[in-house]
């Protein structure tokens, strides 16, 4: 350290008692231009929206997603095959058609029992479709010529 520098000058300055510091502080304090402010804040804001999530902030989402996926997998395994059984719906429809309306075109005699065929013919009669019932009866007779029709029929 040169001789002309007194150690207490610096201490005085650091304590804030120096004229140099007072004079500097009296100077104007320019600020950055407004456009510069806008530019910096815009960059900070735009980059902030692209901030990658930190791993710890993703943890709850990852946990929730894995729980949901596991649950969906279990449900698919337990209920999936039964829900998609292809034969259930057509069977129900067939029964309803048969009960609500007698067949206009009878199946072949080999497929139908005489009892059910006679029930169909009676249903046609009850529905007032007398001509169709008579035509069915003729077919029935040709198919089952020996069948003894009960009196009630």
């Amino acid at each position: 350290m040169p001789d002309d520098l007194k150690p207490d000058e610096l201490d005085d300055y650091l304590r804030g008692g120096s004229d140099v510091s007072c004079q500097y502080k009296r100077e104007s304090a320019p600020l950055p231009p407004h456009e510069l402010d806008q530019r910096v804040l815009k960059v900070a804001g735009s980059l902030n929206s692209k901030t990658p999530f930190k791993p710890q902030s993703l943890a709850p989402f990852a946990f929730a997603a894995s729980v949901l996926l596991s649950l969906a997998l279990v449900l698919a395994m337990v209920f999936g095959p039964q829900v998609k059984k292809p034969d259930d719906t057509p069977q129900v429809v067939r029964v309803r058609i048969f009960k609500s309306e007698p067949r206009a075109v009878p199946a072949s005699p080999r497929e139908r029992s005489p009892v059910l065929w006679l029930e169909d013919i009676n249903a046609l009669r009850r529905a007032g479709r007398r001509n169709e019932a008579d035509a069915e009866m003729r077919r029935f007779r040709s198919a089952y010529p020996d069948y003894i029709i009960p009196i009630s029929e």
Binding site: L14, D19, R26, A29, P32, L36, R39, N48, T51
Partner: protein, 199 residues
């Protein structure tokens, strides 16, 4: 060393996505940082470029921020590094040294505004005596003085910012204060004489 002050807390919040925390930090530091750069680089256009460069660097590296020092120390360390690069480029231009790196090549055609004779004269005229005296200090001493005045940081922190031993930072500041005192004395004495005459 784990260190955390209020501004470091704001920076941590910004790191985690809080844009309002950045706005608060910016509002607090824009003035001191701008004045440090303006009076260190001695050019308004260079100061504006450096100012943007410092904040851009802080924004780009925010994800890696850990509070290991005061936030002011962190911010002004970035500013110091940017200023060092600026002065290195400036020196290359003045000495006509061909630039080797790509960044310098881009600047080859540019002449810093404060080197133009008209601008240099204008800059000197606009300055008060104390600012002219600060501008006349050697670069390292000027920086130590400006860091002390604009941030209020102690010598240890100034040493950390400027990457020098504490004794070196202390010595720079001491020389700066001494030179400023000497520069301002001729101006103060006539003023004191005038006051005595009127009294």
């Amino acid at each position: 060393m784990d260190f955390e002050d209020d501004d470091a807390g704001l920076m941590l919040r910004y790191r985690d996505g809080d844009a309002a925390a950045f706005a608060a930090l910016y509002a607090h530091y824009k003035g001191p940082l701008y004045r440090y750069l303006l009076r260190h680089a001695r050019s308004a256009s260079a100061a504006a470029d450096l100012f943007q460069e410092v904040w851009s660097h802080l924004i780009a590296t925010r994800a890696r921020y850990e509070p290991r020092a005061k936030f002011a120390t962190f911010l002004f360390h970035i500013a110091h590094n940017c200023a060092v690069d600026f002065f290195r480029r400036d020196l290359n231009l003045r000495e006509g040294v061909p630039a080797h790196d790509s960044e310098s090549s881009l600047l080859e055609a540019e002449v810093p505004e404060h080197q133009r004779p008209d601008r240099a004269a204008e800059f000197a005229e606009q300055q008060s005596a104390v600012l002219a005296a600060v501008a006349a200090l050697p670069q390292e001493q000027r920086e130590a003085f400006l860091l002390r005045e604009e941030t209020g940081l102690n010598i240890e922190e100034i040493a950390r910012i400027t990457d020098v031993p504490i004794e070196t930072a202390k010595s720079r500041l001491r020389y700066a204060v001494r030179k400023l005192k000497n520069s301002l004395r001729p101006m103060q004495e006539p003023e004191a004489l005038r006051l005595r005459t009127y009294a």
